[in-house]
């Protein structure tokens, strides 16, 4: 599927893995961390009065360092604002305005910028999230992004495809996060380097769009260039509800060549955790029941979507957390839904507050990547944290002294209640 999208985008009948091709870009996304540098390079290289190649194809989403007192962070958002004004860019979601959205990868999807069959680049490694929508989507640096801003094109090496098939149905206590952590544990953090990671099988087709996004979000943690899933009615329903633009999905060929194929019986996968300090340090949640925690965190592009909160609420309703538990919705739309969606007649927010969680009102990346010292939920000392985020490198959520365990919202919620890592199955009976 990846090859088909790249062939179409480069105007060729077919492309082969390893080939370098110039692709026409459908969407370029940048944010407050890498946008200012990208703009700096664009203006230096193309001239101060240069215009971007296509105003309608540039999407700018401030989300990372938003709710902080740090001056430079505000200065950076001002650089974005100036650029947007000068260029007349329509797709800008300014913080402090009603257009503000929150975390870019989720906002892109919600605002209809993710469409099957297209090519999306973003100055953020988790741009691969959009592979869930049957797009070619991958992260790039500022220089490449500046090149696209000026030309609308980028030279890409066509990746070979690894295919991961899940037969049957995932058990009800399992989430996409467990699946991807299990898979990364199998192939290692560089097992997918330079490769496309394609997901298929009946169990994948049963997943919601949000769960598919969780899966594709973390292909980069396996080193993958992009993740991709076939589009179906679930995809079309989501996309058509959010954009009127036409799109043309690609389908996998029955005889497509893959460099690696692995099949699982979806039933056999267990609630999975990645231990510090690497996403491939895999263990089953039940094997870690003696790990004591000091905090829990639910948020980010991979673990702060509405389904993530609904799942956490299922475990937390009528219970109390034993450690400090921080919740950050990925986007303002999700933040709103937490206040309106109910479970057994109670809003999600009420369930969380009664459980003793600290819920951020402000949608953003927050402590997923540490950020400035005053960031909500940031780890500022030797904390042991279980988190629904995607990275547990040393210092990723703040202090180098912190230890981060990655897990699904079910497992994080169950662990927050016990104060130690807990298999969520007993809470979901």
């Amino acid at each position: 599927m990846t090859e088909k999208i790249l062939a179409r985008a480069s105007g060729k009948a077919a492309v082969r893995p390893g080939e370098n091709v110039w692709v026409n870009v459908d969407t370029l996304m940048t944010h407050d961390v890498c946008g200012p540098g990208t703009i700096g390079i664009f203006e230096r290289e193309f001239g101060a009065c240069a215009k971007v190649w296509d105003r309608d194809k540039v999407v700018i989403i401030p989300d990372h360092y938003i709710f902080t007192a740090d001056d430079k962070c505000h200065r950076n958002v001002d650089i974005l604002r100036r650029f947007v004004r000068e260029q007349g860019l329509p797709h800008y979601y300014d913080v402090g305005s009603p257009r503000y959205k929150g975390v870019c990868h989720v906002a892109l999807a919600q605002e209809g910028h993710c469409r099957p069959g297209e090519v999306l680049f973003g100055t953020d490694s988790h741009t691969c999230t959009a592979g869930a929508f049957n797009q070619f989507a991958t992260g790039i640096g500022n220089t490449d992004a500046a090149f696209i801003l000026g030309t609308g094109k980028l030279l890409v090496k066509v990746p070979p495809t690894m295919r991961f098939v899940f037969d049957g149905e995932f058990p009800p206590y399992l989430m996409a996060k467990d699946v991807i952590l299990h898979l990364i544990g199998e192939i290692g953090v560089d097992g997918g380097t330079y490769k496309a990671m394609e997901f298929g099988g009946e169990a994948i087709q049963r997943l919601s769009m949000e769960e598919r996004m969780t899966l594709c979000n973390m292909v980069i943690e396996g080193g993958g260039k992009n993740g991709i899933i076939e589009a179906d009615d679930v995809t079309f329903d989501y996309v058509r509800a959010r954009t009127r633009k036409a799109f043309e999905p690609v389908t996998p060929d029955a005889d497509a060549a893959h460099v690696f194929v692995k099949r699982w019986n979806a039933r056999t996968i267990e609630p999975t955790v990645a231990k510090p300090h690497s996403p491939d340090k895999r263990a089953a949640a039940r094997e870690l029941e003696d790990v004591k925690l000091t905090r829990a965190y639910i948020g980010s592009c991979t673990g702060g979507k509405l389904t993530d909160f609904v799942s956490a609420a299922r475990v937390m309703r009528g219970r109390k957390v034993a450690v400090k538990t921080f919740l950050v919705p990925a986007t303002t739309e999700i933040s709103q839904s937490i206040r309106t969606e109910t479970l057994d007649g109670k809003t999600l927010l009420a369930i969380f507050e009664e459980a003793g969680c600290t819920v951020s009102m402000d949608a953003s990346c927050a402590a997923c990547l540490g950020g400035p010292a005053d960031t909500f939920g940031r780890i500022n000392g030797p904390e042991v944290c279980i988190s629904t985020t995607n990275r547990n490198f040393p210092g990723r959520m703040g202090s180098k002294e912190g230890q981060v365990y990655l897990a699904s919202p079910y497992t994080v919620a169950a662990s927050a209640i016990r104060g130690r890592i807990t298999d969520p199955r007993e809470f979901l009976a």
Partner: protein
């Protein structure tokens, strides 16, 4: 940056050195295209690495180590171009590793900040921090000047002329892919075959 040899002191690291260790997230508010923030980024290069001697000494902006020798999957994690830039701004000129994360490698080439050399064998055990070494880009070798050992590197291939030129834009100009000077009407990039990618 277009000499054939790179000579300098060696800094040694292990596997999976991720971009949060290369430049921790709290410093990403620095914008690399602003000159004094570029320098500042350099002063924080590799300050997130656990249990290692400082790459850039406390209170300084430059590193004594021009060459980094590391293991597998160097530069994994985020797409932040701040990572190769921080090392380059500190005075690092080359990394010698068994393998790289894709975006980091690409960013080294696109920015022209660093030569990301791959090694066919693991070289981490062949160096101690502070050894003097010389990389020969034409011959694709690295020599440990203390022990005298000469070890092979994988040729950089198409990536080399881009880094030699100082990055993607300069290279694109020199090869006629984009107009030779910054001009508001520049739009079209003409594909040429010799360019590299990832």
């Amino acid at each position: 940056m277009s000499a054939n040899t790179i000579r300098g002191k060696v800094y040694v690291l292990g596997d999976n050195i991720d971009t949060d260790q290369i430049i921790p997230a709290q410093y990403l508010n620095l914008v690399p295209t602003i000159p004094d923030e570029y320098e500042k980024l350099g002063s924080y290069a590799l300050c997130g690495v656990l249990d290692a001697a400082a790459y850039v000494p406390e209170g300084r902006t430059k590193t004594p180590y021009a060459i980094i020798v590391a293991g597998r999957n160097f530069g994994c994690g985020s797409s932040r171009e701040h990572a190769p830039i921080a090392i380059g701004a500190a005075g690092g000129r080359a990394v010698v590793a068994e393998s790289y994360a894709r975006i980091f490698f690409r960013n080294c080439v696109a920015t022209g900040e660093l030569y990301p050399m791959e090694t066919p064998t693991r070289l981490v055990g062949e160096f101690v921090v502070g050894d003097e070494a010389e990389i020969d880009l034409d011959a694709s070798t690295i020599t440990n000047l203390r022990s005298g050992a000469v070890m092979p590197l994988a040729p950089l291939g198409d990536a080399r002329p881009v880094i030699d030129a100082g990055g993607l834009f300069e290279y694109a100009r020199r090869t006629g892919m984009i107009a030779p000077t910054a001009h508001p009407d520049v739009r079209e990039a003409v594909p040429v075959n010799r360019v590299v990618e990832d």
